[in-house]
């Protein structure tokens, strides 16, 4: 495909889509019914159908009988950990291998013209972003993911929380299926703002932001505290009357679903002339500019709170205006601190 028909490339080799990123059209004003109708299938397609199907598959083919899950025993928990890990690396690996290892579409539709593997950096274990990310997934993300999953299943199996059946309450369960992406977006936005506060950013979230040029394995390359906060969004299913399959869906949506924002390409090419939109641009801009796009646009929190960046010149100007204010504040403080230091030395 000719990516220049869809965007532009600067002299650094970074590709930018012609169309600016947008929030979900249900929030457009004046209302745009046609745009909403066109967008509606994307509420579930393509990603959420996969994550819901995987939750169902886990329930029927991976997890043991409910009686077994009433007890915390190494056998079923280790099996779950191994299957989760294999599944995660298989899913992320499809994108990582194709786009970053074999580079099968080169830099076509790639936001950042560089490949992380071409740049060694002290920010990463073994100076390699891909190795660092894979190890963090293996040793941090998957144990925490599995622990959260086990805690949820254990709570349901033992009757500590209400278990709503699909056959008894089909409409309520369907409502919950619709609600889970909204809970996800709200939870993600809130914890994301939280971990961008200075102390938490320095000690927790900076690990994830080391991937300025994210790749699929960056998706869950996080500090353990961030993983607990992020994947912990599945715990909401314990506080509202729900069902363990829906809790698994919420967890898989967070875990497997972290990849769209980190794939680094605007389209994944399929065949000679086809391509699947990744919807990665909003979160890519967050990795590039740090203090924009804390949410993913399903609910326009960033628009409401003035931190939305759609990739356009106007979006850039708004960001720069905030940046100039912050710079002036911080440089004034740095100058005052330096003057104080000079005075204390001369006295």
């Amino acid at each position: 495909m000719d990516d220049l028909a869809y965007g532009t490339r600067n002299k650094r080799g970074d590709w930018q889509p012609k169309e600016p990123a947008d929030i979900a059209p249900i929030w457009h004003f004046p209302p745009q019914p046609l745009a909403v109708l066109k967008w509606l299938p994307h509420y579930f397609l393509p990603y959420d159908v996969v994550f819901f199907a995987s939750a169902v598959a886990w329930w029927y083919w991976v997890l043991p009988d409910v009686e077994v899950m009433k007890t915390l025993a190494w056998g079923w928990i280790l099996k779950l950990f191994v299957i989760n890990t294999i599944a995660l690396f298989a899913f992320f690996g499809v994108f990582q291998l194709r786009l970053y290892t074999f580079r099968s579409q080169g830099t076509r539709f790639k936001y950042n013209g560089q490949f992380p593997a071409d740049k060694r950096s002290d920010a990463f274990w073994f100076k390699r972003q891909d190795v660092d990310s894979a190890l963090r997934i293996l040793f941090h993300a998957m144990p925490i993911w599995t622990a959260i999953e086990v805690a949820i299943l254990y709570a349901y199996a033992n009757g500590y929380v209400p278990w709503v059946g699909f056959s008894e309450h089909p409409y309520y369960c369907a409502f919950l299926v619709l609600l889970i992406p909204i809970i996800h977006e709200t939870h993600f936005y809130l914890i994301h703002r939280l971990i961008h506060t200075p102390i938490l950013y320095k000690y927790v979230h900076s690990v994830h932001h080391n991937s300025v040029n994210p790749s699929p394995y960056s998706s869950l390359s996080m500090h353990p505290v961030e993983l607990l906060l992020y994947l912990g969004m599945a715990f909401w299913q314990l506080f509202i009357p729900s069902n363990p399959i829906l809790a698994l869906y919420a967890l898989h949506r967070a875990g497997f679903g972290a990849i769209p924002g980190h794939v680094g390409f605007d389209k994944v090419e399929v065949g000679e002339s086809g391509g699947i939109d990744t919807h990665a641009y909003i979160h890519y801009l967050h990795h590039k500019y740090f203090e924009v796009n804390y949410g993913d646009g399903l609910i326009p929190f960033d628009k409401w709170f003035g931190t939305f960046h759609d990739g356009s010149k106007e979006g850039d100007q708004r960001m720069q205006a905030r940046y100039q204010k912050k710079k002036a504040r911080m440089n004034a403080k740095a100058a005052a601190d330096a003057a104080q230091q000079t005075n204390s030395v001369s006295n």
């Binding site: 650094r12 080391n210 203090e291 710079k327 911080m330 740095a334």
Partner: protein, 103 residues
């Protein structure tokens, strides 16, 4: 009082390049523009104290190798997040052979 000292040969720095220079327990970055002008700044990014000499020079910008923050190396002004605090700059000059900085 800052002194003028010879930091390196001009040819030690590529055009649109940067070189690290350590002196008296401090670290600096010395830049050579495409037009063979030379400039000098503090050597560490004001964000996370990473050596800027490992970064990418393009036009009059130095990009930090860690988070891709950027500075104008002529003025030290921070241009792109995450760094917000400007770099300190120092006088630099060249006779076409040697580069001298006043630090």
């Amino acid at each position: 009082m800052a002194d003028w000292i010879t930091a390196c040969k001009l040819d030690d720095i590529e055009a649109e390049g940067v070189r690290r220079f350590d002196h008296a327990g401090r670290t600096f970055a010395i830049y050579r523009s495409a037009d063979d002008e030379v400039f000098c700044t503090d050597g560490l990014c004001t964000h996370e104290k990473v050596h800027l000499a490992d970064g990418l020079v393009m036009d009059y910008e130095i990009e930090c190798p860690k988070h891709s923050g950027a500075f104008d190396y002529r003025t030290g002004e921070a241009l792109r997040m995450p760094p917000c605090i400007n770099l300190k700059t120092y006088e630099a000059e060249t006779d076409g052979v040697e580069v001298r900085v006043r630090v």
